[in-house]
Amino acid sequence: MDEAQAVLDSIEGTVGEIAVDNPKMSMRDVDVFYAEKQAIFGVDLDVANNEVIAMIGPSGCGKSTFLRCLNRMNDTIPICRVSGSVMLDGDDIYAADQDPVLLRARVGMVFQKPNPFPKSIFDNVAYGARIHGLAANRAELDDIVVGSLKRAGLYEEVKSRLDAPGTSLSGGQQQRLCIARSIAVSPEVILMDEPCSALDPIATARIEELIDELRENYAIAIVTHSMQQAARVSQRTAYFHLGKLVEVGDTNEIFTNPQHELTENYITGRFG
C-alpha cells in the first residue's frame, strides 16, 4: 500500500507532448472518483482527428475508467464522479447544457466483451439509426445497415441471414457486429475498450485492419493489453499507471525509446 502510494507520489506530470495540432477531443485535469476512492488523477490528453491513440497500462490503472469519461458512460455508475474538463470540438461535454444522450451518438463505444442485443443482425445495426431517426424510410435504413456492415467487414458473411439473431454469430463476428452497430449512427469518435480481448488471432487481425480503415473517418481511442496491438494499430500511445498518465508520445517513440522509467519497465515486461 505504502509502496504503491510512494510510486503514485513519484509520478509528477506527464512525459511527452499531450497536445496535438488538430484535437478532436481534449481532456484537461480530469479526476475520477468512485465514491471516496480516486481512480484517475489529473489527466491531460488530446485525441486528434484521423488518429488512433492507444491506452496501455497495468490492470486496474484506470484505462477503462478514463475511456468511459469520454462519452459519459460513467454517468450510469451512480457512485462515479468526474471533474475537470473534457472538450469535444471545443465544447465541454460535462457542461450543464450538454445532453449525454446526444453526446453518446457522437462518441460511440465498443466494449470489451461483444454485447449484441438479443435481436436480429439487422435490428442490431438498425437500432441506433432508429432511435435517432436517421432514416426516413425503409430503403434508407437498409442502406445504413448494409453500409455499416460492409465497413465493418461483416457483410459478406451475414448477408444471407440478416434475420438471424446477432447472438448466433461467432465471438469475432459479434464484435464486428458491435463495431458496425456503433458506426451506423455515424459517430465522430469511437472508443474501444479491449475490443479483441475475447477473440482469436485471426479475428483480432481482421478487427485491427478494420480499425486502420476506420481511422480515415474517425478519431479512435483504444484500450489494449497487447503491446503488439498498440504498436500495430496506433499512431500515438498513452501509458497509464495507478490512475496517472505517465507518458504519451508517438507509438514508435514509446516502444523504442520510452522516456519514463515506469513506461520502460512495463514495455520491457518488468512490472513495478
Binding site: V101, M109, F111, P118
Partner: protein, 462 residues
C-alpha cells in the same frame, strides 16, 4: 419390537456403519499412501455402507407395513363365523371394523359375544405374530446386508459413483412423486367427470347458459329439475379475472420497472418487501374489504352518475383481486428485469439511447418470457380465487359482461356444490368435478398459448 423402534435401530446402525466405513477407509488410504490408489473419498465409503445397511431393511419394513393390514384382515375374515360371511361384503366390513375397535379399546375378556371375543383374540395373536416376524426379518436383513456391504468395502470399490447414482435416484423419485400426484388428481377428476357426463350431456354442460344445480330430492318436488349450463360460470370467472389483470398488470409491471431500473438500492430494499406483503394478506381480509368498502363505494359512485349498480359486483371483486395479485406481477418481473445483463444496457446507452428507450426496446423484450410467466402466475391466482368472489361478487349465476352486476365463478360454485349435506352420486355433487376439469383444461390451454407466444417473440440473450 414396535416398528418405530425398528426404524430407530435401522437408522442408528446406518449412522454407525457410516462412521465405521469412513474410519476404515481413512486407515486404508493412509497406509496405501498414493492418491491414485484411492478411488473415492472416505465419506463416500461411509455413505455406501450406510446405504447398504439401511436400504434392504427399510424396504422390508415399508413393504410389510404396506401389506400387513390387508393380509391380517384377510386371515381374520377367513376365521369369521359362517353367518357373518354369508351377510356379504358390507356385513363383513362392519364386523371386522367392530372387532378392530374392540381391540383398540382393550379389555377383550369382557366382550360379551363369544364369536366376537374369539375373533378379537385371533386378531391380537395375528398382530403379535406379525410383529415378531417383522422384527426377525428386519434384524436378519440388517445383519446380512451389513455383512455383504462390508465385503464390498474394497479400495477399488467405486463408492463415489454409486453414491452419486443413488443421489440421482432420490432426486428422480422426488420429481416423479410430484408428477404422479398431479396425474392421480387429474385422473380422479376425469373419472368423476365422466360419471357426471353420463347423467348430464357434455354439450348441455359446455354450451348451456343456465346454471341452477338444485335437483329434486324427492320425486314429488316441483320446479327443481336442475340445469347445468356452465357458460355463466366461465364468463363470470373470465370477467373477474380480466378485471383483476387489468388492474394488476399495468400497476405491477410499472412498479417492477421502477424498482428495477430507477429506484435506488435503498428504496428497492424497502419498497419491494412492502409490495410483497400484499400477497401475504389473507384473502378473507381482502374479501370483506371488497364487500364492505369497495363495493359500496362503487355503488354510490355509479349511482351518482345514474348507473344502476348491484350491491355485489364483479368490478368490486375484480378490482380488489387485482390489488391482491400485484406482487405476483411486480416481484417476479422485477427479478427478471434485474437479471437482464448490464452489458446490453451499456450497449444501448453507448449508442445514445435514453433510459426509457433502453427499457422499452432492449430490456423489456429480453425480459419478456419472465414477464409473461409472472402474468400467467397472477392470472391463475385470479382464476382460482374464491373467497373474495363469494364475499364481493355474490353467488348469482348471471350471464353478463357488465362488470356492475353480480356474477359468480367456477371455483365459488365448486365450493357451494360440495358444502352441506350431499349425496355423492348426485349430478349436483359430480358437477363439481366436471367444473374442476374444465377449469383445469382452460388454465392448461392458457399456459400452452402463452408458452407458444413467448417462444415466438422472445429475444434471447446469451
Amino acid at each position: 419390537m414396535q416398528s418405530n423402534t425398528l426404524l430407530l435401530v435401522i437408522l442408528a446402525l446406518a449412522v454407525v456403519s457410516y462412521f465405521f466405513a469412513r474410519h476404515k477407509a481413512f486407515g486404508v488410504l493412509k497406509s496405501n499412501g498414493s492418491v491414485s490408489a484411492r478411488h473415492s473419498l472416505p465419506a463416500h465409503y461411509g455413505y455406501l455402507l450406510a446405504l447398504w445397511c439401511a436400504i434392504p431393511a427399510l424396504a422390508i419394513l415399508l413393504g410389510w407395513k404396506l401389506f400387513e393390514p390387508g393380509v391380517i384382515n384377510g386371515m381374520l375374515v377367513d376365521s369369521l363365523p359362517q353367518q357373518v360371511v354369508d351377510g356379504g361384503d358390507s356385513r363383513i366390513g362392519l364386523y371386522t371394523n367392530d372387532i378392530n375397535n374392540l381391540v383398540e379399546a382393550g379389555g377383550i375378556e369382557s366382550i360379551a359375544d363369544a364369536d366376537k371375543q374369539a375373533a378379537a383374540q385371533k386378531l391380537v395373536s395375528l398382530r403379535s405374530a406379525s410383529r415378531l416376524v417383522l422384527t426377525v426379518l428386519v434384524l436378519a436383513a440388517l445383519l446380512v446386508s451389513l455383512l455383504v456391504g462390508l465385503r464390498h468395502m474394497q479400495p477399488q470399490t467405486q463408492a463415489r459413483v454409486i453414491v452419486e447414482k443413488f443421489i440421482k435416484v432420490i432426486l428422480v423419485s422426488c420429481a416423479s412423486i410430484a408428477i404422479l400426484t398431479t396425474m392421480g388428481i387429474v385422473l380422479s377428476v376425469l373419472f368423476e367427470s365422466i360419471r357426471f357426463f353420463q347423467q348430464v350431456g357434455f354439450w348441455e354442460f359446455v354450451t348451456g347458459s343456465k346454471w341452477s344445480p338444485q335437483t329434486a330430492i324427492r320425486a314429488d318436488q316441483v320446479g327443481s329439475s336442475g340445469s347445468f349450463g356452465a357458460i355463466p360460470l366461465f364468463t363470470g370467472t373470465m370477467l373477474i379475472s380480466v378485471i383483476a389483470l387489468i388492474v394488476a398488470v399495468p400497476l405491477g409491471l410499472m412498479s417492477a420497472i421502477y424498482l428495477a431500473e430507477y429506484a435506488s438500492a435503498r428504496t428497492r430494499s424497502i419498497v419491494k418487501p412492502l409490495l410483497e406483503i400484499l400477497a401475504g394478506i389473507p384473502t378473507v381480509v381482502y374479501g370483506f374489504f371488497a364487500a364492505l368498502t369497495v363495493a359500496p363505494a362503487i355503488r354510490s359512485m355509479g349511482e351518482s352518475i345514474g348507473l344502476s349498480v348491484s350491491s355485489e359486483s364483479a368490478l368490486a371483486a375484480g378490482a380488489v383481486m387485482g390489488i391482491m395479485i400485484i406482487p405476483f406481477v411486480s416481484s417476479l418481473s422485477d427479478d427478471v428485469i434485474t437479471s437482464v445483463p448490464q452489458s446490453i444496457r451499456d450497449a444501448s446507452f453507448g449508442l445514445g439511447a435514453t433510459q426509457a428507450e433502453t427499457i422499452r426496446k432492449v430490456v423489456l423484450p429480453a425480459a419478456l418470457p419472465g414477464i409473461v410467466s409472472s402474468v400467467l402466475l397472477a392470472a391463475s391466482r385470479a382464476i382460482g380465487e374464491t373467497m373474495i368472489v363469494v364475499m364481493a361478487a355474490g353467488l348469482a349465476a348471471n350471464l353478463t359482461a357488465n362488470p356492475l352486476e353480480a356474477v359468480t365463478t367456477v371455483t365459488v360454485q365448486i365450493v357451494t356444490l360440495l358444502t352441506g349435506d350431499q349425496e355423492f352420486e348426485s349430478a349436483k355433487t359430480l358437477a363439481a368435478f366436471a367444473l374442476g376439469l374444465m377449469l383445469f383444461v382452460a388454465t392448461l390451454l392458457l399456459n400452452v398459448i402463452a408458452l407458444y407466444t413467448v417462444r415466438r417473440y422472445r429475444e434471447q440473450y446469451d
